[in-house]
Amino acid sequence: MRRACFKFSWVAAALLVPQLLIIFVFFYWPSAQALYWAFTLEQPWGGGNTWVGLDNFRAILTDPYYWGSVRVSVIYALATTALAMGMALTLAVFVDRQLAGYRSWRVAIIWPYAVAAPAVGLAFQFVFNPGAGIFSYINAVAPGWWDLSRNALQAVVAIIVAGAWKQVAYSFVFFLAALQSIPRSLIEAAAMDGARPLRRMFDLQMPLLTPTFFFLLVINITDSFTDSFGIVDTLTGGGPYRATDLMVYRIYSEGFKGMNYSGAAAQSVILMLLVMALTFVQFRYVERRVHYT
């Protein structure tokens, strides 16, 4: 806490008000609204909402399509996170050796962060396109073997690859920063003890990355739950046969295409709880263990 402060005056309040108003209108109100809708049902001919208790949740949780959506979201989250973090860690560890061209490597790996999710989805739709993309070679020999719009497994693989591609840069930046914050003297001491570069990588640098690793694990999983809409929408559109109907995508289609606000709100609440639980885990268990020394 700081000692020297200004006395409270209208200035302090005036500076605070715009932010508070905005988060009230666009954050707290909608979040509360989602809760309200989740427990009520809108009357078809107007006339307000009636309280239905847990009915909306019951309807969702007994819907096999919803569980399909949860399943594919979890698979997507885990697979993209594992792929992206694995690749980011490998690249960061080797970039950190700071050989010739170190700066160029760094830029070359960072820029995909700036590519919008729908652009990634669209580019990968071309890459994975059965007629024009890379698999056209195989399809020329075995027609119809690769077709995203028919094969559920291939569609899931496609969104995972696209999602992971988009996430690599973010994790890379954090891994590299963490690696560079390891004191030089530690590495030199290990080298003097006779540890060769690979040994130092596995026994010194990677263990020191643990806090960053867990931080990124939570962030990446959260992001893949919330940030997947653009990729799914342009790459598969949720299909084939709802095979890539991720949770956010489902909320969108239920709420805005199906006009089922209550159902969408209940799903939002479930997703909110999930994201909050993940964030809680991060603060409670991960952040506390951060020690680099």
Binding site: R2, C5, F27, V95, P112, A116, N129, A191, T226
Partner: protein, 309 residues
């Protein structure tokens, strides 16, 4: 660095090279597709080397998607979000750090919690609020009986209306309503030594003068970092503009336009998919944020690490 390791160095370059190929491959293929003609791009084995039609395709895609006004819209929204975000974050953090009053911690946490739920998660009710941004206040007045009271006293029927659909305000405001920058600014303000505040006060500076003449010049790096991150964030928004803007000709953003370019049955009507145009448009949409990230690399990395999104 310390010892000679020619083999490992070679392996390092190989691994990094492989990683780079994986990262570049999809964009390279998209780029090549953007340089081909309609026939070539749909020819069975995928082309790996660029053709000669890049400029023609870019032009055609630009005209087809009416990118001129849309790029301007994207720019307006991105700059609006950057400016709004930085201003709000700076003001809020300043108030929270440099003043003493009760409830500061509570307010800080109220703002901080907004980091937990991204817009995508609460998209449906946020959309409803955007249809009438004053509806929360209307509801509050109704529930507390104030509207009835006002009606009884003055005979005025209270009905607050502020439709944000199809407007820049509607695009920008909800994107600004998070704690991203506030947290970054607070961290920075906490590192300002007390002596500086005391010196300023002794010289007779009030809080606003201190903010303007001392803190803002000191926080230039902060501003650059935050601006980079927020620009990319705002430019790349997809779901929100997709919902809020129905009048795409006037308010459409470039990224949203991509959804119209997916060459499926709907857009081509069973004809040959126009991949060359879709990829040309994708490239153009990608360029501004990538340029920002590369040019502002140092601040971008700093911002990314410190903002916690």
């Amino acid at each position: 660095m310390i010892e000679r390791t020619p083999l490992l160095n070679l392996a390092t370059h190989l691994i990094l090279g492989f990683g780079l190929i994986v990262i570049l491959a999809p964009i390279w293929l998209a780029f090549v597709a953007a340089t081909l003609t309609l026939q070539d791009v749909n020819a069975a084995p995928v082309e790996l080397w660029p053709g000669t039609h890049l400029w023609a395709n870019l032009k055609e895609a630009w005209v087809l998607s009416d990118f001129g006004p849309k790029f301007i819209n994207s720019l307006i929204v991105a700059v609006g979000v950057v400016v709004g975000k930085i201003t709000l974050a700076c003001f809020t953090a300043f108030s929270l750090v440099f003043f003493t009053y009760r409830g500061r911690t509570l307010i800080f946490w109220m703002i901080f919690i907004t980091l937990m739920l991204p817009l995508e998660v609460r998209i449906v009710p946020t959309y409803a609020v955007a249809a009438n941004a004053l509806s929360p206040f209307q509801a509050l007045l109704d529930v507390t009986g104030m509207s009835w009271l006002i009606n009884a006293v003055s005979g005025v029927q209270v009905s607050l209306q502020w439709n944000l659909l199809n407007s820049y305000t509607g695009l920008i405001l909800p994107l600004v309503a998070t704690a991203t920058g506030t947290f970054l600014y607070r961290q920075f303000f906490l590192t300002i030594p007390d002596e500086l505040v005391e010196a300023a006060r002794m010289d007779g500076a009030g809080p606003l003068r201190f903010l303007w003449d001392v803190l803002i010049p000191l926080s230039k790096t902060n501003i650059a970092a935050l601006a980079t991150i927020m620009f990319v964030y705002a430019w790349n928004q997809y779901l929100w503009p997709l919902l809020v803007i129905t009048d795409r000709a006037t308010y459409g953003m470039v990224v949203v336009q991509l959804s119209d370019l997916v060459p499926d049955q709907m857009t081509t009507g069973g004809g040959t998919p126009t991949w060359h145009l879709a990829m040309a448009a994708t490239l153009m949409v990608m360029v501004p944020p990538i340029a920002i990230v590369i040019l502002m690399q140092r601040w971008f990395v700093r911002g990314l690490i410190n903002t916690d999104k």
